[in-house]
Amino acid sequence: MLLAAEAFGATAELRQSDAIRWLMDMRQGVIHLNYRGVVAYLKDKHVESFQLFHAFAEGIEQERLVSMNSPLREVVRNAEKVACYFPDTKTVFVENKPSRRSVLLELPEDLAQLSRHYDFKLLAQEYVAQRLSQIISIEPRDDFRYARRIWVDVESKLPLKFELVGENDQVVEQMMFTSLSIEESIPRSELNASTKVDTFTWQINQRKALPLDSLKWVLENVPDGFQMISYTRLLRAPTEHPVEHILLSDGFSSVSIYIDELGGDVVKGHQKKVGAINAHSRKIDRYLVTVMGEVPARTVQAIAGGVHRQNVQRP
């Protein structure tokens, strides 16, 4: 009996490591291949499409992602910067020296570490965009995270389809290649921004990284596995009103905490849910604390409930 249980445990571990190996191969494919395609993105029963161009040459990645319908937004990433263009609001967001991340699908460095909070499994194989793909299931081990399913192209190891699965097994967000071609190279013209920026009329948003020891807030109820990975002060154009922003991540899911000093006593609250994103707000003294992320409602509620000012006696 004991041997059978041990054998079962070993098999489960083997299946888990097989699934992790697929995901690691996928990460390599996403970075090192040259490809272009059209991606359909579904959220709240609403479908949007965008074009994706990705190139890898001489050890450097370049990417461009542009929406196919209005508003025509664009994201361009190269070795020096990431620029996000929002023509409808005449805003461009530029980050210099970006970390090496793909706009398509990013995975954490240490997948084995993630197995503490997620269970990885290989499911069946299916065709997506006429390409055979392996389905990988990523199930959370608690109620604080969403499940994921990824369809990985058997030949190229690119992710062809992705689903974020909410409560009651409902798909809350979905991405899928409707066409994909893997190329020897991608011409430079397809990788450069097509949006023209007039510096006199466009707003450039700023971000200032803050040292962690300057944080005046304590986060008590953060579910296990979530870590603080960024603490910044954002100055949002055009008013330059500062908002503190803490970003937490468990490797797959990201949660933002915004701390905004209020101008008045009564402020606008927020809708609770948009697509996969849940949000929850609290007023603490003269601050509005808003927690949002692609996690279940209970997670943002839990995190918001545990935020308090340092050295302030709570009731």
């Binding site: 959220k43 709240d44 609403h46 949007e48 499409s49 965008f50 992602l65 929406s67 937004r73 664009e74 994201v75 990431v82 996000c84 409808d88 967001f93 090496r100 991340r101 706009v103 398509l104 699908l105 990013e106 460095e109 994921r148 992705f162 974020l164 967000e173 991405m175 971000r207 109820n221 990975i229 960024s230 910044t232 949002r236 908002v243 922003h245 970003l247 991540s249 797959f252 990201s254 933002s256 915004y258 606008k268 609250g269 927020h270 809708q271 609770k272 849910k273 948009v274 697509g275 994103i277 949000a279 707000s281 609290r282 949002m292 992320g293 692609e294 509620q301 839990a302 709570r314 009731p315």
Partner: protein
Amino acid sequence: MSDDDLKQKLSLLLDGELSKSDSLALMSRVEGDAELRKQWHRYRLISELMRSEKTLLVDDSFVDRVRDALASEPTILAPRSGKHRYREKAVTAALAASLAIVAVLVGKSISEYSPVRGPELLAQTELTGAGNARSGGDPQFQDYLVMHNETAYLVGAPGVLPYARLVTYDSSR
């Protein structure tokens, strides 16, 4: 005039259903009566809440205040005559319903996650169906959403498709 009559008249005044002379008389009385003034502000707040898709942020004692207000609110059972009868009923019912909705939502927020009981909770206006997905009219929420996705990507937070969300996000919705 009894307290009940006064409260009903306040409801009618708020709804523009009171005659000019009655309105002036009542407003003059409201100005001189602190308790009535509080009642008036409460009714106005509720009215705003009912008309708005926005939510209001509330403080520590909000639930207690709602409970107290409900406890002290008179139950109006006697039928009334006159052309405003239907209107009065509708106003009273709507006010009661709005209080009940706020109370239920706050109660739900607390019970959904028992280990954490934040001292302040957002009174959330839950929209249904497509309306829930559309966050139009709340630019701050949309701004936060954009920042979340931008930062998640820019600082290298592992995640899936933060930029697909940005590029396809429709600010007009």
